[in-house]
Symmetry: C2
């Protein structure tokens, strides 16, 4: 987690964004559209959920669902903690959002998630008829919004999803990267300790 | 539901099956393997779950999960009743089975379901690492065990599922067919009643 705070974007008023990517070390200023500002705002909320997973030692993935400008469902990965494969960020957020909407159809909602959904979560998004998904990082090994499969946009299904990729990609990817670096270090240390016993 | 009872198979001792398919109107006798007998037994349990959905006016789909010869998770479709797209038969059965196994991995379980899983449920089966799925009817319009997509057997995922199709296919299909015939009749009657008001 060290250094993540430095990577965070700052919204200057409501029209510009200043960010300092790790790799460049300089300030970039770009004029943002109201939609981009909104996307960043909600992806930050999804990132905050991902941090909760991180703090539990879970793969840091977070999700929020937005309806009429309000977050109505939040979720983060708790697979090991809750001991169920169903405890993915998106599934929890969908469960909570449906309680608010009181309908299985989330037809006027947007879903923000820090990592490209897996096959189960992409399927749940289609089943819940969510029209739009905004995601941060792609998942080349298991993502189902185009990486391995495209479950969100199969013309044979009765619902297709509009997808936007790359919002807060650097921050969300960095959190995942930090997690796996620490996990590998922890596993290595455990192995070495066992070897000396 | 009229006539469904007549379609049900009868296990004669533990070695033969007698069934009377609607279309043929005659008795067929076939020697069954112990595995086939077991599959029929558990699919009947899944069918019993599907009937619960039917009684609620839900699309009749049922599921059971078996571990060491014992049913440890049951589920049936309650999407409209519970007002959530997550209330599919397989998801409920997985949720219950993981509570028994106390692990997100259901690596030594078999899942029996009366209809080919949708994209969400097929995804959940892969996520829960279930090694074997036995299904009754196929779903050419939305099934994700080969009909529209093959989520259960994508070599790029880290888990593949062994699939058996057609167990108690006639009975499970008949239940679905009856449901949709009745649903259309109900919708038609409602429409006509509105027209006369």
């Amino acid at each position: 987690m060290v250094g993540i705070a430095k990577l965070f974007i700052e919204i200057d008023g409501l029209t510009t964004m200043k960010m300092k990517p790790k790799s460049l070390g300089r300030i970039n200023t770009k004029v943002l559209t109201p939609e981009e500002i909104e996307d960043i705002k909600y992806m930050r909320a999804a990132y905050a959920q991902a941090k909760k997973a991180y703090m539990l030692g879970e793969v840091p993935i977070g999700c929020v669902i937005v309806y009429e400008g309000k977050i109505i469902g939040r979720g983060y990965n708790r697979r090991n903690t809750d001991k169920t494969a169903l405890a993915h960020a998106e599934i929890t957020a969908i469960k909570r959002a449906t309680r608010v909407i009181k309908d299985w159809r989330l037809e006027e909602c947007k879903l923000y998630v820090t990592l490209e959904p897996c096959q189960m979560c992409a399927g749940a998004i289609v089943q819940a008829r969510i029209p739009e998904v905004i995601m941060a990082a792609e998942n080349p090994k298991a993502g189902c919004a185009g990486s391995v499969m495209d479950i969100l946009n199969n013309p044979e299904f009765n619902h297709q999803v509009q997808v936007k990729k790359g919002v807060l990609k650097e921050e969300c990817s960095a959190l995942l990267k930090d997690f796996f670096v620490e996990l590998r270090a922890r596993n290595k240390a455990e192995k070495e300790q066992k070897g000396t016993l």
